[in-house]
């Protein structure tokens, strides 16, 4: 991990328009290395759209994205991953016909055809990554269809850990989980941050689960930032309460 003087990620005046709908309207924020940022807001606020733009899955209508002091606005997804950005999805997206181990193998595989052909898989390393997110040895051979939602979220974490990210974008990471699973995923996030120094941006509707994890929170509504600060400050904010509960 290389320390940078400036922010790890900087989003500058980001806009995204779908036809006549302005999904994101001039979003700007920074994330420091090692920080955990919460990105919250009601449904349709534009949180996932921001993630999609940070990962180059959507090209912004205007605005810039900087990572480690480099303008990556036009850098494709796979190159952003190589630079250290990774994400999970609201609905987990495993490779459905592959075992947990093979899913991790895809994450570990180099983006080099010659190496893909000439170098064999490191099954021990795959199992290590699987175990590091809480999978048992039996689960490493299981198919995603045999896993519970909490395990599918672990699988996404494992696949992301395999690409050795610096910044991890976690989209609705607690959605569909039981209280026990939420506790386990939270512990996993804290553990990974402590060991690997990961930086997180977490989108979640579960504010109770989010609160102990975040250093700072940004609140979005109708594509704009309406509040920013510590968790306690923003939940007391009048505009935030209006956005969530209605005026």
């Amino acid at each position: 991990m290389t320390a940078t003087a400036g922010p790890l990620l900087e989003v500058r005046d980001l806009h995204m328009t779908f036809g006549g709908i302005r999904a994101v309207q001039g979003i700007s924020f920074q994330v420091a290395e090692g920080e955990t940022l919460g990105l919250i807001g009601p449904n349709g606020a534009g949180k996932t759209t921001v993630f999609n733009m940070i990962m180059a899955e959507l090209r912004p209508t205007s605005g810039e994205i900087w990572f480690r002091g480099e303008n990556i606005t036009r850098v494709p997804t796979y190159e952003r991953v190589k630079r250290g950005i990774a994400r999970t999805y609201q609905v987990p997206q495993p490779f459905g016909e592959m075992s947990v181990g093979a899913n991790i193998r895809v994450g570990m595989a180099p983006d080099d055809i010659w190496k893909l052909v000439s170098e064999g898989a490191d099954h021990a390393a795959e199992a290590d990554i699987g175990r590091s997110v809480g999978f048992s040895d039996e689960q490493i051979d299981m198919l995603p269809s045999e896993l519970a939602m909490g395990d599918l979220r672990r699988l996404e974490m494992a696949r992301n850990v395999a690409v050795s990210p610096t910044l991890l974008l976690l989209d609705e990471v607690f959605a569909g989980l039981t209280l026990r699973e939420i506790g386990q995923i939270s512990e996993l996030l804290v553990e990974k941050k402590r060991k690997d120094g990961l930086t997180y941006i977490i989108v979640s509707h579960d504010l109770r689960a989010l609160a102990p994890l975040v250093d700072r929170v940004i609140v979005m509504s109708f594509g704009e930032i309406i509040a920013e600060g510590t968790f306690d400050d923003v939940v007391r904010d009048e505009a935030v309460r209006d956005a969530y509960l209605g005026q």
Binding site: E57, Y78, V81, K82, Y89, V106, I113, V117, A162, V163
Partner: protein, 317 residues
């Protein structure tokens, strides 16, 4: 390439298959060998389709386009311009690989049904072009006949076609057992997720398209020199396309071995039905058999044999 014990065991099976097929000309007549020669070429086309469509999920309805590029390139070069076939065949393979990159362009933006239809259009365009553009060179609707043979006699052609198919099959099979095979399968399951694990899927797909085109090119070039003629109607007929697809799917897509099994099954079935059903009605019967097999066992013949092998192993324990 790291070769594990399981791969070595399978390579033993490949070797046994190779030895068995090499001994076949001592046991069967030339009529059967001629049928098997067609099976070997069909297996080449089905493996080519499988490496692209079975793996990446980009369903091609246009493989005759690739086979046609190879066939016409070597036919025109050798027949019209007296280029020795030792040069015309490699030139045909290279031309098909270039054609494969053309084929690839739509895959940058579309997939699924749309991609399949675009590839079908490629086949149709080449069909029309060969009929109307420079008919003095392509032979127009009549095509070209009297093409030079590479070897003569059923036995020699049998060994040549089997050798090409066998080597191609082993190479493709080894390729899909590497992490490249896993990455290509992952594209079929979720291309966006592959990108988000740091892979340039364009590069991976281009590789799959080029390899697939090369295999079609090898098969197509050798095929036209075996049959000694080429005509647009035979090359770009929908039945030819469906035979390739059915061979791959019936045998077991995504396995490379399956399409070989499918090709043998289909060719032998069609030929042995010929005396009882000399007309096109045998395609109806083969279609019905294919349908039933595909409904009962969508994973194909390969999975039936693999399951039987596993049961035998369990029984021996």
């Amino acid at each position: 390439m790291a070769i594990d014990r399981e791969t070595l065991r399978y390579l033993g099976w490949w070797l046994a298959f190779g030895v068995l097929m090499c001994l076949l000309p001592f046991v069967v007549g030339t009529g059967t060998l001629r049928i098997l020669i067609f099976a070997h070429f069909l297996a080449m086309f089905a493996m080519s389709w499988d490496f692209l469509s079975g793996r990446t999920g980009y369903i091609s309805f246009g493989h005759p386009f690739l086979i046609g590029i190879a066939g016409y390139t070597t036919a025109i070069l050798s027949f019209r311009f007296d280029v020795p076939i030792y040069y015309s065949i490699p030139a045909a393979i290279v031309a098909t690989m270039v054609g494969g990159t053309l084929f690839f362009l739509p895959a940058l933006r579309i997939r699924g049904t749309y991609f399949a239809l675009v590839t079908l259009a490629f086949m149709e365009i080449l069909y029309q072009l060969t009929k109307v553009v420079a008919p003095k060179i392509t032979g127009g609707t009549r095509g070209m006949s009297g093409l030079e043979s590479i070897v003569t006699g059923a036995v020699n052609n049998y060994y040549l076609s089997f050798g090409i198919m066998f080597v191609t099959g082993v190479v493709l099979w080894l390729l899909i057992r590497t992490r490249l095979g896993i990455a290509l399968s992952a594209i079929r399951m979720n291309e966006e997720a592959v990108r988000s694990t740091g892979h340039n899927t364009t590069k991976l797909k281009l590789f799959a398209f080029t390899v697939s085109a090369a295999v079609s090119g090898i098969g197509g070039a050798f095929y036209v020199h075996y049959i000694g003629s080429i005509a647009p109607r035979g090359m770009f007929e929908i039945n030819f396309l469906f035979t390739i697809l059915v061979a791959a799917l019936l045998g077991g897509a995504e396995t490379i071995i399956g399409p070989i099994m499918g090709a043998y099954f289909l060719t032998v079935l069609l030929e042995y039905l010929r005396p009882v059903m000399p007309g096109m009605e045998r395609y109806l019967l083969y279609g019905a058999i294919a349908l039933v097999l595909y409904v009962v066992r969508p994973e194909g013949i390969y999975s039936i044999i693999a399951d039987a092998g596993r049961k035998v192993q369990e029984w021996r324990r």
